[in-house]
Amino acid sequence: MSVFVIIYYTLLLGGSCLAAYFNKRSAFLLLFSLTLVSFVLGIIGGVPALKFVAVSAGLLAMAAMVSYGFREFLVAITSVNMAKELRTAPLTAGFGMFVIFTYAVAGIFAPVIAPFGEAEVIASAFAPADETMLLGADQLGRDMFSRIVYGARNTVALALAGTLLAFFLGALAGLLAATTGGYFDQFLGRMSDVIMSIPSLIFALLMLSIFGGDLANNTTSFWLLAGFAAVVGVLMVAAVSESSIIGWLIGLAVMAGVATVFAGFMLTIFNPSEVILVLVVAVIYSPRVFRLTRAVAGNVVVMDYIEAAKLRGERKWYLIRREILPNSTAPLVAEFGLEFCFVFLLIAGLSFLGLGIQPPTADWGSMVRENATLISFGELTPLIPAAAIALLTVAVNFVVDWMLYRSSGLKV
């Protein structure tokens, strides 16, 4: 009998007795069943099994404490209304927000946090972890930790840009379809059906092989970006100016200007191949956003207050902006989180296949592929970027779950 085992059982039994005494039914059941399970585990696995249980429980407790602390921190620093909402957040959502916060800090301050450069070769290939390299080196001898930190910046920024563009296009089209109805609605609906009928990964591979290679230059991506912005712009102009010709002319002129600025701005952030990746992702995911937005807005446009606004002679743009959008934000925000995860996984998957972000840019998907050979030597290194992807996806989903719960109107 080691001291560890004695302490282990003392804590468990003491805890369950206290829980029983204070009538905490669920806590008691949890602790006491853990005690019973531990008997069996101890007999089969010995002390290491019990240590594993203890460490897992400790990690879980740490995560819970961090999420609790972070939630209370947010409650303390935000405004009264925000704090009221945040207080209803479950611990999982607190955990999710904490992880997202950590990733955001890592991504934004990547050059400050990372000890080495993104493409800096500092050791021999696959060098093991030591004091200067927290996670060892990759297949070219670059610092794994630094690349993970830079990867947060690259992968997340791409996924965020792709999701945002998909949302602009999809949500605008959905809102317009719901308010206009008729042939316009049918046309957009069938367009989205066409895009959705092609499996997304295959569609992405197809588009990327067309626009990859020689076409991935500044001119092509500029025109593609401007074209995308023009489609969004035409939808917006249609909503704002409706049937006035002067409105259309002014709107189209403004739109052309905005599209040019937007394309130039995007090209300063991303290189041409990344721009094409973002656009492909936006086109693939916008139909899903379109469908959801149209459904949510469809429920709102039948309300009497929309009828009242229409009878007042309001324009479509006012209806969309002031009457419909405030009533559909909750499901849209939740959908944004969900789509972000899908986009993120798609980009990581494409990078893993060698079609996404091009080396030497650090990216979690390609990092998994580059270090994949190590797995046959029993090393966990390739799993670290994979874990980073998994953790972010789970975290975002935790937050989204909370938002979905809130928007579904269920009371606790």
Binding site: M303, D304, Y305, E307, A308, L311, G313, R322, P326, V412
Partner: protein
Amino acid sequence: MTKKKDVLLKIRDLKIEGYSDETWVPIIKGVDLTLHRGEVMGLIGESGAGKSTIGAACMGYARDGTRIVDSTIEFDGMELTTASESDKRALRGSRIAYVAQSAAASFNPSHKLIDQHTEAPLQYRLKKRMEAQEDAMELYEKLRLPNPQEIGFRYPHQVSGGQLQRAMTAMAMSCRPDLIIFDEPTTALDVTTQIEVLSAIRDIVDEFNTAAIYITHDLAVVAQMADTIKVLLKGEEVEEAPTREMLENPQEDYTKSLWAVRGFKSPQRKRPTDGTPPLISVRNVDASYTGGEKVLDDVSFDIYPGMTVAVVGESGSGKSTTARVITGLLPPSKGEVLFKGEPFPPDYRNRTKDQLRQCQMIYQMADTALNPKVRISEIIGRPAAFYSGLKGAALKNRVDELLDLIELEPAQYYNRYPPELSGGQKQRIGIARALAAEPTFIVCDEVTSALDQLVAEGILRLLDRLQNELNLAYMFITHDLATVRSIADEVVVMQHGKVVEQGPKDEMFTPPHHPYTDLLLSSVPEMDPDWLTTLLEERGVDNVGDAASARIDPNDPKITGASA
């Protein structure tokens, strides 16, 4: 029949709290209730008085976000507050049943009525399926549903609202419970349909000696149904007394004020005689929804400036469709609408801003008529800004002025959102929104039917005052003749999309009537506890509701006379 007089339900010091803004707020503040076997108790009070919450508590049930604290609820010797969930579940459906306000929303649309009816007896193994079905048909017959052998095999959407409500009562009866809780079972029904449901409920409760709690805000209805009446106000009991005593001699001031509600009557205005053209003139309008049959058939009537025209009729008679034609939401297939003698473009999209401004609308459901995510200041301010181009301080002054006009304190409501307001306040905001456009004509679509009598009366008084101050014309759509009596100057009676009778109010309320008007008038419950009994004796039990309107003789001289 002798009624056993032992106590069935005993509630002492009932306290229920609701969770809001992170604290527990008391909703019910210590109500006592004693119900004997076979007794019918009426719970009345305005919305928010806690009627439905008490009704649910009688089953030991607290809705989500509420909890029952230190009270005793004893049902037939069994304490419900400490009983386990499975014990309480065993009571519900078999010994305590519940009839909800909206039968259409409470039936599962994808199962036949009889399958839903027999679910409880089968679940509790009281009867075999065939027995239960036979019993269901027997109950349907007792509740005077047409075709009792066959009606149970229909789906809920295949029967009318009144029939559905009776089928729901039959379903509650399926296990012969000791107690039934009726939560506003007739509020959503027309007066003519209401009678058949009321008489059916009353007979069956009497026959099986079932105790019942009847929740409603309609005093005249509760007077017909209940043995004793309990008046509630803001979660507290005001008084309780046997029905007759309560009606004749109410003790508390609040009860007296409830009784006096129906007293409001606006003086009747006459049409101008100096030849001013009518403000709105509906001429021979036919209308139908896409591909459907004709909903309006040759409808014509005039509305003069500053006058109120009430349009009455049961649901489906084309009242609201007429309003949609006038506002331009549904262009008519034949005929036209004139505004001050000028033709009004049939589609609202072709109307000018000024034409749109002239004609405003107030909706029945203030909940859906106000955007829940927009502040009051913007809801009211938008029309003012939109039509008159007001901005900044001028706009704020205008909104304050409008809030003053509808008797709400501007500083207090300026920045609030609609969900934070009560039903009556929301309806006032709806009125303010219509006024903000400075219209000459307002369509009021059942504006008071979702409100309690006290609140409704406040709204009617407000509308009447505004009419006098601003010289507004109202088209007042309603199925409640008490409302017509209090506010209308002229009345248009509609049935099946046709105008059956129209004229000044005083003429309409003096006989001889068109038989349909007569049916409507005689179906309005009165504050006399014997009213229903007398009415049924006069008409015969089988001659109420649909049956009665079907029985109108098409060759009646009054009908041929009315169209001439």
